[in-house]
Each structure stands twice: as structure tokens, then as C-alpha cells.
């Protein structure tokens, strides 16, 4: 029975470079909920994709029901009995629920789609698994939680026995999470096996029977749920080596960047940003923490001048910049480093040179003619100072590593101009350790020079190790502002991030001077 699904020595690397999985071995027992947890980039999703037949693996063995398992496609995996529910649903909003579920193996024949039978089938399925909905509704009209249940039913209809849920709670409200967990328990009761990919520890402890912890592509440990604690799991996930090196505080001066009650509505009438108030003073780094999708993207866009606010105001050193353009803001001393490098920060198919001059080309032109010599000189200085390594200025920027692209963007936006404030989002996502250190040191240096730095990041370690103060973003609102530097601890911050309130007991430790710095936890 313990040999239901066995992974032995699994290796997987992308593009021959980055090792996503290294010698991963784990055993999933039949009829249990097995959670695979780890930080962003630990390799959780890669395991899910390998099992679902979406990516091939390089080396190692997988056996499923004591037979060799090496799926060539998602369809192949489903035929062997393994199905996956993606974090980003593979659904069609314009089709009905029933059509979505039966697509690919529809009742009827090529010239006849038996809609009635599909509807009946889906109705039976949904009753059997306790996930009731109207099969004739358009999928696009369903809530996210309902759509997820459609995905689950879709997998179950294909007679899978092992269901992989990739970050299933990331997009759900607490009520929907409860409902999902009920559904999972019901499936286990019917003899199914479930693998949950997750990073929210409370939820994992609530639903899982077994827990495997990944760190940087390797299995750190596998524990039975009853044999472990949250503290141990955090220690396993984060690892001692990742603890931030000596946190330093800045010396806060005058208020520089003031965000005054800004709100941003979306087309659907929801509020992407909901009355945010935040002040960043000269010489301090304010971190904005939160689970992805709680308004980070909208906040950076609004501050950078790429989206107009619905209401509220933004002030830079006492000047109202709410209605100023992106370029004006930059010229006034507000630097903005966008979180999505390849979409907003550069034009990947264009040359390094073209990407590097987008901030200066305007000023460095006479009568509309680019002063290429001057631009090249500035670029040289910026590249030297920001340690940008490039094989050639005329190659497409997509040939550079993520770290070098990010340093190019930093150099472009920061070099050669005085800055009052810097808004920087996800500065080290997908960047190797050395690059991370360089960028962190850089932000500290700017802080020490009296710059007001607003750091928007979903990487809690980054937030903790850099910030003087931390604002927690939840559902488009700042729900708390606390002290940085590891007091409150990561778990305590997590409570805010996950629940948006202080209802958790962890609140007692907030800001108390005696809190243990993260480096000393063990």
C-alpha cells in the first residue's frame, strides 16, 4: 500500500541550466492527503507538472500502482489515473459548465453533441461528490470557487484515482477553502488519493495526512501531520541558511512619498485598491507584504503613473503627483521598478542598447536627434555601477539572464539622476542568490543616502530583511503596519497576510522588543 505512488531520484532542469528538482524521492500512500510544501521556486509546481504529464523529467523513476509511470501528455496521465487541477484553470468561460466538464470526451458522435446526456452526467457527478451546481450555466458566470469545483469534477469524470491540486486555496475565500476541504475529505472517503501543492501552513496542517517539504528543488523532510508542528515546518521550509544577514535600520527623516486614501475600481465593480494610506519617509524602506493578487500589481501601477486612481491622492515631497504622467513622475525624482520585468520593464526582442536608453533618450537628444555617443557613455557608466554583464549591446535583451535584465532596469531607472523616492516591486523574483544580494545592498545604499524606498514584494524573507516598517496588503487594503527586522516574526506576519486581521493569537507578539529575530529561530 505504501507503494501507491513512488518517486525515486527525480531530476528536472529547465533549458539545461536551472535545476528545478534535484534527486527528489517521495512516497504517496493510497487514500491519504499528501501535501507538498515549500517556498516560491522550491520546485513544488514542477513535481505537479511532471506527475500530470505536462513536462518530461530528466532522470529518476516514478512508479504508480507498482508500474513504471512516465506520462507523455496530460491525457496519458489521466488514462493512467492521475489528474490535476491547475492553479490557473484550464476552462472556457463562454462554454457551459457541462460542456467544460465533458470536453475532450463528449457524449454523442462527431456530428451530434448529446447536450442532454452531458448535463445529466454532470448532474449525477456533482451529486455524487457533493458539489452541486447547475450544469447549464455559463462558466464565466461562476465564482472562482465554483470554477475550481468544475475543474475537480472534470478530472473525476475521467476516472482518475489520484488528484493533484496545485495551490488550490490561493484564489479562494476562507469560506470556499472550508468547502474545498470538505470536498477533499469526501473524496478520501470514497477511496481517492489527493496531492496538495501548497505554501499556507495552517491549511496544510488542517487538511494533510502527510507532508513533504521542498527547499530549492530538494526534499528536506517528509513528516506525518500529527508528528510535526508549524514551527518545525517553517524551519524546514526556510532553512537556517536563508535567514537574512544582519538587519540594519535606516534613519527616517521627512515624509517623502505619501499615499493618501487611494482607491482603484475594476471593471467588475470590485475594488482592486481600497483606501490605502501609507507614508514613506526619507531614509527608510517600507515593505509591502502580502499574498500575491491582493493589490500589489495595482499599487505599483498607480504609483508609477500607469493607471489613474479612482480616488485619493499621491504626494511626492509635498507636491501632488496624482495626475502626473509616468515620465513627469520620473523626472520629479520618483523612480519606479516594475514587478514584471519582461512585460513592463523591457522589450525582450529589442537590443540591450535600446532597452537601456528608454529613460534617457528624451533628455539626451538635440532637436529630436538621439545623441548616441552620450547615451552610450551613460550606459557604460550605469552598466559598470550596476554590474550589468552583457555579451553585446546589440543582442536582444532576452539573451541576458534575469538578474542582468533586472540590473539593467535598475541602472536605467536609477543611474545619473537624484531620487527622492523609489517604488520597487518584486525586485529579485527569479534571480540567483548573488544577484539578490547585489540588489538588496543597492536598495540599502539608496536608503542610507536618504531615499524613501517602497518595496512591494511577496517574498517575505526579502521584506523582513530589508524593511524598517512593513505594511500588510490584504484584499486591496493595508490591514496593518508593523515594525520590520524580524519582530514580528515571519509566522506572525503570515497571519496578517492570510487572514487580513489580527484575529490570530500571533498578534500578541507584534512589535514586542523581546521577539526572537528570525536568524535565531530553530
Amino acid at each position: 500500500m505504501s507503494d501507491y505512488l513512488r518517486i525515486t531520484g527525480l531530476n528536472k532542469s529547465y533549458d539545461g541550466d536551472v535545476k528545478a528538482l534535484e534527486d527528489v524521492s517521495l512516497v504517496v500512500a493510497k487514500g491519504r492527503v499528501h501535501a507538498i510544501i515549500g517556498e516560491n521556486g522550491a520546485g513544488k509546481s514542477t513535481i505537479a507538472k511532471v506527475l500530470a504529464g505536462m513536462v518530461p523529467f530528466d532522470a529518476g523513476e516514478i512508479s504508480f500502482e507498482r508500474r513504471d509511470y512516465r506520462p507523455s501528455s496530460p491525457r496519458d496521465a489521466a488514462e493512467r489515473g492521475i489528474g490535476i487541477v491547475h492553479q490557473h484553470f484550464m476552462l472556457f468561460p463562454s462554454l457551459t459548465v457541462a460542456e467544460n466538464i465533458v470536453l475532450g470526451s463528449e457524449p454523442g458522435h462527431p456530428l451530434k453533441f448529446d447536450s442532454d446526456r452531458a448535463v445529466q452526467e454532470v448532474r449525477d457527478l456533482s451529486e455524487r461528490y457533493g458539489m452541486p451546481f447547475d450544469p447549464t450555466r455559463r462558466l464565466g458566470d461562476l465564482s472562482v470557487g465554483e470554477q475550481q469545483r468544475v475543474e475537480i469534477l472534470k478530472a473525476l469524470r475521467r476516472d482518475v484515482e489520484l488528484l493533484i491540486l496545485d495551490e488550490p486555496t490561493a484564489v479562494l475565500t476562507p469560506q470556499e477553502v472550508e468547502r474545498l476541504f470538505k470536498g477533499i475529505r469526501r473524496l478520501i472517503g470514497e477511496g481517492y488519493t489527493v496531492i496538495v501543492i501548497a505554501h499556507k501552513l495552517e491549511e496544510v496542517l488542517e487538511i494533510a495526512d502527510d507532508i513533504t517539504v521542498l527547499r530549492r528543488g530538494r526534499v528536506v523532510a517528509t513528516r506525518r501531520c500529527e508528528d510535526t508542528t508549524k514551527q518545525e515546518l517553517v524551519r524546514l521550509m526556510v532553512g537556517d541558511d536563508l535567514s537574512p544577514k544582519g538587519h540594519t535600520y535606516g534613519t527616517a527623516g521627512e515624509p517623502v512619498l505619501t499615499i493618501d486614501d487611494i482607491t482603484l475600481g475594476t471593471q467588475t465593480g470590485l475594488r482592486a485598491l481600497d483606501g490605502i494610506n501609507l507614508t514613506v519617509n526619507a531614509g527608510e524602506i517600507v515593505g509591502v507584504a502580502g499574498v500575491e493578487g491582493n493589490g500589489q500589481f495595482e499599487l505599483e501601477q498607480v504609483l508609477g503613473g500607469l493607471q489613474p486612481v479612482s480616488s485619493g491622492a499621491i504626494w511626492l515631497s509635498g507636491v501632488d503627483i496624482t495626475h502626473r504622467s509616468a515620465r513627469t513622475r520620473a523626472n520629479m525624482g520618483l523612480a519606479y521598478i516594475p514587478g514584471d520585468r519582461l512585460v513592463w520593464g523591457c522589450a525582450p526582442t529589442e537590443s540591450v542598447f535600446n532597452n537601456a536608453i528608454s529613460r534617457d533618450y528624451h533628455a539626451e537628444s538635440r532637436f529630436g536627434v538621439l545623441r548616441k555617443g552620450a547615451l552610450r557613455q551613460q550606459l557604460k557608466e550605469a552598466f559598470a555601477r550596476f554590474d550589468v554583464r552583457t555579451p553585446g549591446q546589440w543582442l536582444p535583451v532576452s539573451n541576458l539572464s534575469g538578474g542582468n535584465i533586472q540590473k539593467l532596469i535598475l541602472g536605467r531607472e536609477l543611474h545619473g539622476r537624484p531620487h527622492k523616492a523609489i517604488v520597487v516591486a518584486m525586485p529579485t523574483r527569479g534571480i540567483d542568490i548573488r544577484g539578490v544580494e547585489f540588489i538588496h545592498d543597492l536598495l540599502r545604499r539608496y536608503r542610507d543616502d536618504g531615499c524613501a524606498v517602497l518595496l512591494i514584494s511577496t517574498d517575505l524573507d526579502e521584506i523582513i530583511s530589508l524593511s524598517d516598517r512593513i505594511a500588510i496588503l490584504y484584499d486591496g487594503a493595508v490591514v496593518a503596519v508593523v515594525e520590520g527586522g524580524g519582530k514580528p516574526t515571519k509566522e506572525e506576519l503570515g497571519a496578517y497576510m492570510l487572514h487580513g486581521s489580527t484575529m490570530q493569537p500571533a498578534a500578541s507578539g507584534l512589535g514586542s522588543p523581546g521577539a526572537v529575530p528570525p536568524g535565531a529561530r530553530a
Partner: protein, 382 residues
């Protein structure tokens, strides 16, 4: 530390660019060879004396001053429409109405020349401005409909162009026609308004050299000015351009208008240089072939010169073959349309680049045309 430092990656990656270029050149060559090969095949299958037909097709353009001059002249208007389309495509704007922009430009320019108060070459400049403005206006309109209403310029530019062609025909036949001409054409322009023939008896005239100058100017505009930089970045990544503070909507409309203006210029130079008057159907698909020329040029303004000459060669070769053998001049259109088919095929590039030159997968260069796909334009919205 800085760019160009001879570090490890440098030496490993230095040939990358050269290989990309080589693969581009080879895939272009393959495309042209396949298309011309198909043309040769058609001649073989349909001609009574294929040898003689092929000889006059391939060598005809070089056989005397008349054909050689006409070959250069055939390229001249395509320099302009090709340059205009390079500008539009570089900015991510798909202008499919160049044919109509040619006609409306020709109409406006000719009206100026026919009703000119003074018979001085200065009026030729005024006519050129009028032609450019007219062509630019209807192209710019398509661009504006995109940025203002989200109506895709891919279709609207064509429709506006089709309306413009009817309008041209109406005004020509109703108001400008010379009843003595025997077919829908105006009276001849005053001698001051026609360009001198430089290689008689061919129609070769100064418009070819103006076209060469225009290619250099567009090159400088695109690659040496802030405006050209903005245009290219808008086309490469509209969001990045917005992030950098560029007025992307305005740039989109201006790029469309500029490309229409070049179509208008092509018309007035063709009319005053070759025909000496306005006449119905004066454009041998200048707008459509301009697209092919721009693509053969890989959207580079200087590449437009050899690309237009290639067209001129095929066109004149087909004409000589038509005169001296039993082949229709239309053979050139077949060859051009086949080039059109293959010119954007990434599979050919990938096959040469990765299958033949190297077995590793690397990022292709950014100069290949990457137009938006099937979206109807409501999303990007300018």
C-alpha cells in the same frame, strides 16, 4: 564589468548574432529561390520555347537602356510604399490600405498640378505635400479608429482604402477627365510638372534617386531620432513604451499617417515621372507590393532598396518575356505572391537556424516581423 568586456559568455555568444544574421539571409534566399523556381516551372510548362522565354525573362532587363531604365523606374514608387509600410509595421500598425492611399494621394497631387496657378516646379512640391497629406489622412483615420474605438486597423484600413479608390475613380471620371483622351485620364500636366527622363527612351527619372534619399531619411528617422526610437519601442512592446512614458496612442496614429503619406508620395512621383497625367488604374498594385517589399527588407529602411529592385527586376523581366516570347507579364505577380507566402514563415528560419547551422535553440533576433495575431484589436487599443 561593462559591456564588451571579453568575459566568458562574450566569446561563447559572439557568433550568435552572426549566425542569426546568416540564417536570416539564407531563409530569405530560400524564399526567393523557391518563388522564382516556381515561376520558372510555370514558364517551362506553358511556353512553347522555354529556353528563349527564360532568357528574355532573366536577361531582358539588362539587354538595353530601355529595359534597364524601366527596371530601375519600376522600383522607384515601391521604395516609397515599402518605406511607408516599414514605418507602420515597425510601430506595430498593420496598414492594409496602401493601395487606396496611393490613389487618393495621386488624386490630390494631380488636382494641384492641373489647377496650379503658376507653372513652376515649386508647384510640384506643393502637389507632393497634397498627395502626402491626402494619403496620410485616410491612413491616419484608420489608426485613429483603432485608438479611439478599438476597431482593428487591419480591416478598417482596407475598407477606407477601397472607398478611396472609388472616390478617386469618381472624381477622375466626373471632374478631371479629358474627354479627348479616349479613356479615363486627365489632360497632360504642364511640362514643368513632369520629371525629366534620365535614361531615354526608358521612363527612368529622378524619382528613383528621391526614393534612395527617402530610404536614407527614413533610416535616420527610425534609428537616429528620439521619435523613431519611440516608434520602434511602441511596436516592440507597447506596455514597455507606456512605462517609459511614450505617447503610444499618438505614435500609433502618426505611424499610420506617415505610411499613408509615403503611399501618396509614391503616387505623385509615379504620375509626374512616368505618366505625365492622372489616369485610371495607374498603380500596378503599388500598395500591396509595398507590403512584400517591406517584408523582404526585413523592415529595414535600407533593405527596401534591394527589395524594390528585386521587384523591378522581376517586373521588367516578366515584361520583356511578355514582349519577346509567349509568356504573360503576369508571371511576375505569381512570383511576388509566392514570396509573399513564404516571407514570414518562421519554420524556414528555424529549420535553417537550428536544423542546419546549429542544433541548439536560441532566441531569434527581434527584427523579424511579429505582428499581432488574430485579436481584433479591441484589447491593445493603441
Amino acid at each position: 564589468m561593462s559591456t564588451g568586456s571579453p568575459s566568458g559568455p562574450q566569446s561563447r555568444r559572439a557568433p550568435v548574432r552572426a549566425l542569426n544574421r546568416l540564417a536570416e539571409g539564407l531563409s530569405l534566399l530560400v524564399t526567393i529561390l523557391v518563388a522564382v523556381g516556381a515561376g520558372v516551372l510555370v514558364i517551362f510548362l506553358t511556353s512553347e520555347d522555354p529556353g528563349a522565354s527564360l532568357r528574355s525573362f532573366f536577361l531582358g532587363p539588362f539587354s538595353n537602356r530601355f529595359f534597364f531604365g524601366n527596371m530601375l523606374q519600376a522600383a522607384a514608387p515601391l521604395l516609397f510604399t515599402g518605406l511607408g509600410l516599414v514605418i507602420a509595421f515597425r510601430a506595430g500598425a498593420v496598414n492594409l490600405g496602401a493601395e487606396g492611399q496611393v490613389y487618393i494621394g495621386g488624386l490630390a497631387g494631380s488636382a494641384v498640378l492641373l489647377y496650379a496657378p503658376i507653372e513652376s516646379p515649386v508647384m510640384l512640391v506643393v502637389a507632393a505635400v497634397a498627395a502626402a497629406v491626402a494619403g496620410g489622412a485616410i491612413a491616419g483615420l484608420a489608426g485613429w479608429l483603432r485608438t479611439r474605438f478599438g476597431a482593428t486597423e487591419v480591416i478598417s484600413s482596407f475598407l477606407i482604402g477601397a472607398i478611396a479608390i472609388q472616390l478617386f475613380d469618381y472624381v477622375l471620371r466626373t471632374y478631371l477627365v479629358d474627354p479627348g483622351a479616349g479613356f479615363p485620364a486627365t489632360r497632360s500636366f504642364a511640362p514643368e510638372f513632369t520629371l525629366t527622363r534620365l535614361m531615354s527612351p526608358s521612363s527612368f527619372n529622378a524619382s528613383f534617386f528621391i526614393g534612395l534619399g527617402a530610404a536614407v531619411l527614413v533610416y535616420l528617422l527610425l534609428f537616429r531620432t528620439a521619435f523613431g526610437y519611440e516608434l520602434r519601442m511602441t511596436g516592440a512592446n507597447r506596455r514597455f513604451a507606456r512605462f517609459a512614458g511614450m505617447p503610444v496612442k499618438r505614435l500609433f496614429v502618426v505611424a499610420m499617417a506617415l505610411s499613408g503619406a509615403f503611399a501618396g508620395l509614391a503616387a505623385i512621383l509615379e504620375l509626374s515621372g512616368v505618366h505625365g497625367r492622372l489616369l485610371t488604374g495607374f498603380s500596378p498594385d503599388l500598395g500591396w507590393n509595398g507590403i512584400t517589399v517591406a517584408l523582404i527588407a526585413r523592415l529595414h529602411p535600407l533593405g527596401v532598396i534591394p527589395a524594390a529592385l528585386l521587384y523591378g527586376y522581376l517586373h521588367t523581366g516578366a515584361n520583356t518575356a511578355g514582349l519577346f516570347s509567349d509568356v504573360s507579364p503576369r508571371i511576375a505577380s505569381i512570383i511576388m505572391s509566392l514570396i509573399f507566402y513564404l516571407i514570414t514563415a518562421q519554420a524556414i528560419y528555424a529549420w535553417i537556424r537550428h536544423g542546419i547551422l546549429e542544433r541548439r535553440r536560441l532566441t531569434p533576433p527581434g527584427t523579424t516581423l511579429d505582428l499581432p495575431t488574430a485579436d481584433r484589436g479591441a484589447e491593445a487599443g493603441g
